[in-house]
């Protein structure tokens, strides 16, 4: 059970997959490749098409057009029960009329695998539930049900495991615990996981690669750190964490950076971190990478500086303070300051300037609907 060799996943490829429902298009010509053995997360708000994607891959819905390949084999027209793919359903979908053990053994019995009950018992051991195998699913807690659903899928050693918001029904503490457990199991069994979620923390915490979906398409895909550090669209910048965004025309350019002018303030971004180098563009910075100063600082070319403005709100959140700063003609900017014992002593109404390193700016390919703010 623990050997990767017997349990390795296959790579999944979606080519130009489109799904239309009467009245709307849930998925617009999606291309996606997930390498074998990866923990891949599809992240997006509800209605973005992520669950549709999952259902198409599982075979529960048919794509309007396009192809789905698993391990290089075209499975577009393969029935769900003939695909080597298993799903952990959002509601777990445990069979209420069977014991936990019979639930886990179900897939093995269908495929006429020898010794289904012994193998099911092994799978329950993996999720530490062997002592509850005689119970009915209704008699288990939410977290236990979740683990049974996982064991029921894993025991079949699928090439690809689909997880549809598997932690959505659990409370926050249990969710964080299960995240760690789920990741550990994935590493242990080494198969391909495709995880669908709307929880950005969950996606970034567990996945090797995160694809952010919006309105039926993938906006951006990459490692969690890369996505967070350099969001390429306004949607990603705002959905994944918080961002301050500034819009202006590119007015200055040198070898490495371009600058926009926002109400008389010059804001620069390295060319390598900007999607567009001409015309009207949006430049952003994460709130925790910005600082404020009570007196106008003298900073070199490596910094962006805007202000003066006024602190209009301070929120204490424990690990950090969140400052909302209103800068005339620019708008509201959010700055996070860690509570490490020397955070600036300020109060609402204080006049401040905001600065950040040019190398922390990122330039977007599109413009946000609203100008600034977090």
């Amino acid at each position: 059970m623990n050997q990767n060799s017997t349990f390795s996943g296959a790579d999944l490829e979606l080519i130009d997959v489109r799904k239309e429902f009467p009245g709307f298009t849930a998925l617009e010509d999606m291309d996606l490749k997930i390498p074998a053995g990866q923990f891949f997360a599809l992240l997006g708000p509800s209605g973005c098409g992520k669950t549709t994607t999952l259902r198409l891959i599982a075979g529960l819905d048919e794509p309007t057009k396009g192809k789905i390949l698993l391990g290089g084999k075209d499975i577009t027209n393969t029935k769900p029960h003939e695909r080597p793919i298993n799903t952990v359903f959002q509601s777990y979908a445990l069979f209420p009329h069977m014991s936990v053990l019979e639930n886990v053994a179900f897939g093995l019995r269908q495929r006429k695998v020898a010794d289904p009950l012994a193998k099911a018992a092994d799978a329950l051991k993996l999720v530490q539930l062997e002592h509850l195998s005689a119970r009915r699913p209704q008699q288990l807690s939410g977290g236990q049900q979740q683990r049974v659903a996982l064991a029921r899928a894993l025991v079949n050693r699928p090439s690809l495991l689909l997880l549809d918001e598997p932690l959505g029904a659990l409370d926050l503490k249990l969710r964080r615990e299960m995240q760690i457990e789920l990741k550990a199991i994935q590493v242990e069994v080494g198969l391909t996981f495709l995880h669908v979620t709307h929880d950005q923390e969950e996606a970034m915490d567990m996945a090797d690669t995160v694809a952010v979906m919006n309105k039926g398409r993938i906006e951006q895909m990459g490692a969690p750190e890369a996505l967070y550090d350099r969001p390429k669209t306004a949607f990603v910048a705002k959905f994944l964490g918080q961002s301050n965004l500034f819009i202006g025309n590119v007015e200055d350019e040198n070898a490495n950076t371009i600058s926009i002018n926002v109400a008389g303030n010059k804001i620069s971004v390295p060319k390598a971190r900007a999607e567009k180098h001409k015309g009207k563009i949006a430049i952003g910075v994460r709130p925790e990478k910005a600082f404020f100063h009570e007196e106008e600082p003298k900073l070199g070319a490596g910094y962006n500086l805007i202000g003066p403005g006024e602190i209009i709100d301070i929120r204490f959140t424990g690990v950090s303070n969140q400052y909302l700063i209103d800068i005339p003609k620019i708008g509201e900017i959010t700055v996070f300051a860690q509570n490490i014992g020397k955070s600036p002593v300020t109060q609402v109404g204080q006049k401040v300037w905001v600065s950040w390193k040019v190398e922390h700016s990122f330039g977007l390919s599109d413009l946000p609907e609203k100008t600034t703010g977090a």
Binding site: P80, H81, A93, R111
Partner: protein
């Protein structure tokens, strides 16, 4: 304070009276199944167990019950299968004319029995079909069908489609998904529908009377025919036995599910 308490007792007191009213004819029927009557069972003659011990000896009651059971079982089988199929389609599939189908299923429940009975009889007359077991069974399936649909439909609605999807996901082909998941999960609803259907068929008088009551004697037909000259106590025996059986089944189901719920609540 006293007046308040008195007001609180009005409703329970009323409920007791209402239940006495509802149960009085049942008690009467049961009591008179022990009446030592010779000809008419209208006056109390004394207590005897003979009617119960020798229920089949006289009067042809048991033959009538036999006919009723035969008709009930066959009608229930057909109505349950047809009705379950419709119930699944109504909940699980989108199709045009859904409203018309709903209306078509509702109408038989909203039609007076005398209209359905005479209408079917008129049709059999028009088609030249002679009345007998066949016509009675056809009629019973017809009026049981809608009730089966309603009962099973309620169960299908509580069935999470994800369970069947999980079955498909776990390598079960459509036939096995139906046999291993859909059917077992619908079973309580189907069983309830079948019981209801049998009860309706067993107790039906009006429609049966129009469609074969002259040639086949079911239990209700027997009572109706006997009512002119006095219904024998054996009929009360059958009625009481059926009553206690039905009550026992219902109570058993209720207590079992109630026990299961408390056990579940404790475990969680």
């Amino acid at each position: 304070m006293k007046a308040f308490d008195f007001k609180k007792l009005i409703l329970p007191f009323y409920a007791v009276i209402a239940f006495v009213f509802l149960l009085l004819p049942i008690a009467y029927t049961v009591a008179f199944s022990f009446n030592d009557s010779t000809k008419s069972n209208a006056q109390w003659q004394g207590f005897t167990l003979n009617n119960w011990l020798q229920v089949c000896v006289r009067q042809g009651v048991c033959e009538a019950v036999g006919s009723s059971i035969l008709i009930g079982v066959i009608s229930t089988l057909i109505a349950t299968v047809l009705g379950t199929m419709i119930a699944i389609a109504l909940v699980r599939y989108k199709f045009k004319a859904r409203e018309a189908v709903s209306l078509g299923l509702f109408l038989p429940m909203a039609t007076p029995e005398v209209v359905m009975g005479s209408g079917l009889a008129a049709e059999f007359f028009n088609l030249g079909i002679g009345q007998g077991y066949l016509t009675i069974i056809i009629a019973h399936v017809m009026f049981c069908l809608s009730f089966v649909v309603v009962t099973v439909k309620a169960r299908v609605q509580t069935l999470d489609p994800a369970l069947e999807e999980a079955g498909r996901d776990l390598y079960a082909n459509p036939r096995r998904v139906f046999m291993k998941i859909t059917l077992p999960l619908l079973m309580p609803g189907i069983a309830a529908a079948a019981l209801l259907s049998f009860a309706l068929s067993f107790d039906d008088f009006i429609i049966t009377y129009f469609n074969g009551g002259q040639t086949v004697t079911t239990f209700p037909i027997f009572i109706y025919a006997a009512a002119t000259r006095g219904v024998p106590a054996e009929a009360n025996v059958i009625g009481s036995a059926v009553f206690f059986l039905a009550i026992a089944i219902v109570l058993f189901v209720q207590i079992r599910s109630s026990l299961r719920n408390t056990r579940l609540a404790k475990l969680k």
